[in-house]
């Protein structure tokens, strides 16, 4: 568990107003949407905007790739790290 993942988790909580949820409650590899954390399509848009702002990365809307990047905290962190390098 690195600093980036904690940062991403905190961003998810703050951006999506997840009351009563701590970074530790969000699993690193579990699905963020539907089954896992239970986020929905509006959350996906919101999170996309927040990640663009916070990490200055470009996200291709609606591509299969961005679906993969948004699967879990782990895939998000990998995507951010890769875009930065």
């Amino acid at each position: 568990m690195n600093n980036l993942s904690v940062e991403v988790k905190q961003l998810i909580i703050d951006t999506l107003d997840l009351e009563d949820i701590e970074p530790a409650d969000i699993d690193y590899e579990d699905a963020l949407f539907v089954d896992g954390l239970g986020l929905d399509s509006i959350d996906a848009l919101e999170l996309g905007v927040a990640i663009k702002k916070a990490f200055d990365v470009k996200i291709d809307n609606n591509s299969d790739d961005s679906k993969k990047h948004f699967y879990s905290v782990k895939t998000l962190c990998e995507f951010i790290a890769q875009s930065r390098s």
């Binding site: 239970g38 509006i42 848009l45 919101e46 905007v49 663009k52 702002k53």
Partner: protein, 269 residues
């Protein structure tokens, strides 16, 4: 047009129960600056997290007033300013050339709370969202009554909500503002009487008749030909709540444009 008020639910200024509003109408309790919001525990946390104070006030009153017909009742959502806190935040973001929040954008439109109500209850009945200046509350009743009559609905839900206008717009506000929501479940009196033939009516017991015919109300509107140049300082919803909870027989309320006459027609049969 006559109508009955099946339910009246209001929340604001620390006044929450029907008893609170009665005490308010009789001058025993005052509107205070309490910002207490309805807990809305019936809404799942994942849905509740997106609800602004405006949405919480509106949904609490709507869900309580329409408890017996949540999935079927048509509705009118009314607010003069809407959820302006959200809108002004978006406008500020535009000015600062920030990316806009899709959630804030989606929930800032005037029919957003009606949409949330529809999604949460699964209610697909017709729904309108209106805004009509200082006359918003009474125009909403008028709109609801017109829909009752035109569509032969048996009942309709009216949800009126207002929260304090953000600081940057305060200079334009002429009324004494309060944060409040009020939901009314209005029923048509025409359908009930159409169901019974006069001959049948005679045979119905007096007691039963008064149960069939609760107090009816009527609302009349006239242009205000007087010289009222300023808005009424009191919000119309408070005029209405005082009238309703005082069991007054009549109230007339003037605005810059209109004269509204509310009457209660005590049941005679």
């Amino acid at each position: 047009m006559e109508f009955t008020i099946k339910q009246c639910v209001a929340w604001g200024g620390g006044l929450i129960t029907a008893q609170d509003w009665q005490a308010y109408a009789q001058g025993e309790k005052k509107f205070n600056d309490s910002n207490e919001l309805p807990p809305l525990k019936q809404v799942p946390a994942m849905q509740r997290r997106r609800l602004s104070p405006f949405a919480k006030l509106a949904l609490h009153c709507a869900l309580t007033a329409a408890d017996e017909c949540l999935t079927t009742v048509p509705s009118v959502f009314a607010s003069r300013h809407g959820d302006l806190a959200k809108t002004s935040k978006l406008i500020s973001d535009v000015a600062a050339q920030e990316l806009l929040s899709p959630t804030q954008f989606g929930l800032s439109v005037h029919n957003a709370v009606g949409g949330l109500f529809s999604i949460y209850t699964g209610n697909k009945a017709p729904l309108t969202a209106i805004s009509a200046g200082e006359d918003t509350f009474f125009v909403a009743i008028l709109d609801a009554l017109a829909k009752l009559k035109a569509n032969n609905y048996q009942q309709i839900l009216l949800v009126y909500t207002e929260t304090l206008v953000p600081q940057m717009y305060q200079q334009y506000i002429a009324q004494d503002e309060v944060s409040i929501a009020c939901a009314l479940l209005l029923e048509s009196t025409e359908l009930e009487s159409a169901k019974l033939e006069p001959a049948e009516l005679d045979s119905v017991e007096q007691a039963l008749t008064s149960e069939l015919y609760p107090d009816t109300y009527s609302l009349k509107i006239q242009p205000n030909s007087g010289q009222q140049r300023l808005e009424n300082s009191q919000m119309q919803v408070l005029d209405f709540l005082k009238f309703y909870y005082n069991s007054s027989e009549a109230a007339s309320i003037s605005s810059k444009r209109h004269l509204w006459q509310l009457n209660k027609n005590v049941s005679t049969s």
